[in-house]
Amino acid sequence: MAKKNKSEGTVQVIKKPLSKRIWNHRGFYLMFLPVFIFVILTQYWPMLGIRYAFYEYKVGRTPTFVGLENFYDMFSDPIKQKAFLTAFKNTLELSIIKLLITTFSSVVVSILLNEMANLFAKKILQTVIYLPHFMSWVVTASIFSLILAPTASGMVNTALQSWGILGEGEYIYFLNDTKWWRPVYYIINIWKETGWGTIIFLATLAGINPELYEAADIDGATRFQKMRYVTLPALANTIITVLILNLAKVMNLFESVLVFWQRGVNDVADVISTYIYRTGLAAGATSDYGFTTAVGLFKSLVGCVLVLICNWASKKVRGRGIV
């Protein structure tokens, strides 16, 4: 084919030689250079440091190669194993439950918003419920630790006292009680992220063909039936997409837990990242770089597998990957 074209000399876009094409794009290479340098320095160079997972490396000492000992410690050293497995289980439990309940509340709120005929009221509520998303986790933690404070100035505790639910001088330590910490953490997450989560569902709802509702009207469907048989099925694909996209990130749970973490609730609140942070960076002279790098590597590998699974699931469900 190519030969024939050549011999006949027909007009055809002939690919220029590689060196010529590179030269023609020289401006673009130059423009990519800053990105390249930054990514090499901040993303790829740290990957070389993963080798410390196989070293004994305490702060201020020289690293010595120990093979798989750090991984061995993770799964069999009595103290480290308990702390590590607690953190691992908490990471999965906290992020998955958080993901399910915030997605559920977002779906409910977006269906309500969609049913609202008064556009002005709808707009106002949207503005209000998006607001907490822009508050940092530190701000959120500050607001709620003041409101939930177990003192005479804590709004919730004093209200419970005046309603007679709590006795005089009796307080609930919401953020420092293993019984209360998780429910409070989930509620705060619902408060902060429900509104923002509705955006993607509202976009889907706006795209539903109005004829479907008209047809349902003609068939005499009630409002509830329309929600159940028209709205929800239309949302199903988006819900699955949101769950898949976020499932890939479950290992990344960090800041939202770090700001609420206290020693007293460590057993229910510690996640992999806070565990790495505490034992690897915030432990002062006893900081253990080698072991925590190994824990970090384990976290990255699990995260990587999750991303690949979610990518595969995403391709199945919606025809394109997540990365």
């Binding site: 673009f28 800053p34 390249f36 740290p46 822009f134 500050s142 976009a203 970090g296």
Partner: protein, 287 residues
Amino acid sequence: MAENTKIAVKRRKKIKIFPIVNYLLFILIGLLILVPIWKVIVDSLDAKTVAALRLWPYEFTIAGYKRILTYNNLYMPLLNSVITTLLGTLLGLVLSTLGGYVLIQFEMPGRNFFAYFLLITMVFSGGMIPEFLVYKQLGLVNNLMAIVVKHGINVYNLVLMRNFFEGIPQGLFEAARIDGCSPMGIFFKIVLPLSKAALASIGLMFAVGAWNDYTAANIYIMKPSLYTFQQQLKSMIGSGDLPPSTEINTSTLANASIMIAIIPFMILYPFLQKYFVKGVNIGAVKE
């Protein structure tokens, strides 16, 4: 005939009840979101410590805000946060526009390599400790630039930018090239002016990220004189580390500090809401 009207009446009744329930739910949800925020606003303006929720402060004062803006240990963190936010947003926009622009050059040799070069970092990373050791070697520990760099590199935002650029008609690039415009010229004269909405949306995402940052600051900044405002807030309220002050109520000061951390975006937010929302939609619902 009579039956028909009966049905019509029934219908109308049903339709009337739902909106009322919906309005009530709306008000309830709105209040649940707003109550904690309102409590902070009122407490920050009240000279007394009051546990109960109220509409208006008992004893109005702005001493809390004054204290933050005049007390060294409080306005320095604020300044540090402003610096890291501005520089982080600037670096983020420069890198994501440059990278996004190069990634839509489908003819460029090595373009796929660059795409994978970036995508790998979204799936796999060195982790907290190796990253800390590298930043240490780069002299970024106890250096505000650590936060700037950490937020300036964001491959996810770069890909969002690329997706937006891809929507610009290729014919425009072609025409400019024929007119003898250089890649840099096309970038500045065509790509950037056509992408104002994306620049606003993604710029806002960078700004919110850097302003709200606590993780990076917490890892890389240990010197109290370099604390960002979020760090200062955490150490004040989380550890009760309030600056010495005799003339001011601690609750007033604590709540005013929270307000200072929120105010910049509270003021901008009503005007910029559509850009925030657009940012989500560029990424999530591309079709």
